[in-house]
């Protein structure tokens, strides 16, 4: 555990050493604020629902850029060899990397707290859905980052890792949505496909509902992709 956190800490500091991190953070904060104030007019409901929904959409494009370097960069620069020959196991490396990226995600969505503060000044927001929405954002982001960790373990090219992640996220958002809304003959298949859609699960959180089924969906997804990343990293040993 200790070593996992060591890796996570290094990851988050190194993320802040790349100029791209600041560009991403800046643009995200700007975009979110702009959208917030578009809907910030008298008479509107004091909720963050539409903002959170858009943030979840933004993450589809932003998080692959955060996760793409996690393992790909270490493989390319050879520092992976140092990590793998230290007395730590592959799972610690993968989880540490993912946790580091999660730390960045926390920083990324922190401007939302300021916006909620602004809302508090002018209105009386309902904190229930806001808190569940936040939890949902962390879960959806965690899932995307887990997909990104897997993609980053697959290649030493960051650009390829970015597109693999985008593809994976696309499968669980756009593709399942299109397939799910098509008139498929078998209702069970349709339902199964629809179940895989990430955004429907997230919508519950945004509505203020924490359903165990949704939490299980996200957590099992995160575990699955991190597990696959560990296996992929291990495969280096018998390739």
């Amino acid at each position: 555990m200790h070593q996992t956190l060591t890796i996570a800490r290094r990851e988050i500091t190194s993320l802040f050493f790349s100029p791209i991190a600041y560009v991403v953070l800046g643009l995200f904060a700007l975009g979110v604020t702009w959208i917030f104030f578009l809907g910030f007019v008298p008479g509107q409901q004091a909720t963050m629902r539409s903002v959170f929904g858009l943030v979840a959409r933004f993450m589809i494009f932003i998080l692959p850029a955060v996760s793409m370097r996690l393992l790909a960069d270490e493989t390319r620069s050879g520092t992976l060899e140092v990590l793998m020959t230290s007395p730590i196991n592959d799972a610690q490396v993968v989880v540490g990397k993912w946790l580091g990226a999660m730390g960045f995600l926390l920083v990324l969505i922190s401007p939302l707290i300021v916006l909620i503060g602004v809302m508090e000044i002018y209105a009386d927001p309902d904190y229930g859905p806001i808190i569940t929405g936040f939890v949902g954002l962390l879960l959806i982001g965690g899932l995307y980052l887990a997909m990104g960790t897997l993609a980053s373990a697959a290649t030493q090219n960051q650009i390829i890792a970015f597109f693999i992640t985008l593809f994976l996220i696309g499968m669980f958002t756009i593709v399942t949505m299109i397939l799910g809304s098509m008139n498929l003959a078998n209702a069970n298949v349709r339902e199964a496909i629809f179940y895989l859609n990430v955004e429907t699960h997230y919508a519950q959180f945004n509505r203020g509902l924490i359903d165990t089924a949704d939490v299980v969906f996200f957590l099992s997804g995160i575990v699955l992709f991190l597990f696959l990343a560990v296996k992929l990293l291990e495969s280096r040993r018998w390739r």
Binding site: Q3, T6, I7, R10, V82, T85, S86, P87, I88, R237
Partner: protein
């Protein structure tokens, strides 16, 4: 100590048995048997692509062998990988480091990865930075350091947890002669406290610091001896070169008649002839391996002028090229 590899005596630090690695159809390391006792500094030599890095990577547990076994400090590198890795300080080829970190931060990071306690980290960081001459640049960012200094950082990190076994892959690659001699001095200081396996493709570099030189080529061990013995073996290959003002044929005839001469090769250039003589090692005559005296008398008798007579001992380098080329032909 926990369960140990077979019944190895404790003083064998690195042991491989028929260690083999295939990359698809390519055989990188082929049935390597190596045994290194505690405290020895072993130079691991071979041309590029001979299987040095592959062997070292198998020893450090980075890649598994296709077949065969390896153990470090008594632990099987495959079955007791974590324990084995704990005993190893490893400097990989090209010394990968995180360029954005400061020297001190990097060592701290490596110490934490090794599960060292806070006090141990502080203490050992002071010792290794001092030893590797990094004390003055502890706060500098690694990416801005010179290659030599970066190499010292890698070495300091490898030494951080006082490992029993140090594995250094080409630690002198890309350094200037001053830095090379510095790294050599550093490694020399590790004698007795650590077992060191250091690879290189440059022989004279290794020769000076190693107790023993293992030369591999084509995935096999081509030679395994002390540097002194290697030199001795070389001198047996020594040839005598004499530059004489004389007719080539007459000279060859006269030389072959001299005691202790086995073979003569003549190159004539103008009125000077250069003879390359292979001494006869079988002869029991007083001249033995050194026919120089007899040759001198012969030349004097014939009244031939001599402008040069020298022993040409092939350098270790030539020897290295010779045996590695032989291995390549066999492969």
């Amino acid at each position: 100590m926990q369960t140990r590899f077979d019944d190895l005596p404790i003083d064998i630090m690195i042991e491989t048995k028929q260690l083999t690695k295939h990359y698809g159809p390519v055989v990188a390391v082929n049935g390597l048997d190596l045994s290194i006792p505690d405290g020895q500094i072993v130079g691991f030599l071979g041309p590029n692509g001979a299987g040095k890095t592959t062997t070292l990577r198998m020893l450090t547990g980075y890649i598994p062998p296709t077949s065969g076994q390896a153990c470090v400090a008594g632990f099987d590198v495959l079955k007791q990988s974590e324990q084995a890795r704990r005993q190893i300080g490893y400097l990989p080829e090209n010394n990968p480091v995180y360029p954005e970190m400061r020297v001190d931060e990097y060592l701290e990071h490596r110490g934490k990865l090794l599960c060292m306690s806070r006090t141990a980290r502080k203490q050992r960081k002071d010792i290794v930075t001092d030893r590797c001459g990094l004390s003055k640049i502890r706060r500098r960012v690694i990416g801005q350091l010179s290659k030599g200094n970066r190499q010292r950082v890698g070495l300091a990190a490898a030494l951080l947890h006082e490992p029993q076994v140090l594995i250094l892959d080409e630690p002198t690659a890309g350094l200037d002669p001053n830095q090379i001699s510095e790294v050599r001095r550093l490694i020399g200081e590790l004698r007795e406290k650590h077992t060191v396996l250091v690879s290189s493709h440059i022989l004279p570099e290794i020769e000076k610091m190693a107790d023993r030189v293992v030369i591999i080529a084509g995935g096999h061990i081509a030679a395994d001896d002390t540097p002194t013995n290697l030199r001795k073996r070389l001198s047996e290959h020594g040839r005598l070169i004499v530059d004489v003002r004389a007719n080539g044929e007459a000279l060859q005839k006269a030389m072959l008649a001299t005691v202790g001469v086995k073979h003569v090769e003549i190159h004539t250039q103008g009125e000077w002839s250069q003879a390359t003589i292979t001494p006869d090692k079988q002869t029991d005559s007083p001249g033995m391996h050194d026919p120089r005296e007899a040759l001198g008398q012969m030349l004097l008798k014939n009244n031939w002028a001599v402008r040069e007579m020298r022993y040409d001992t092939p350098s270790l380098e030539q020897f290295f090229i010779e045996i590695t080329a032989k291995q390549d032909q066999a492969a």
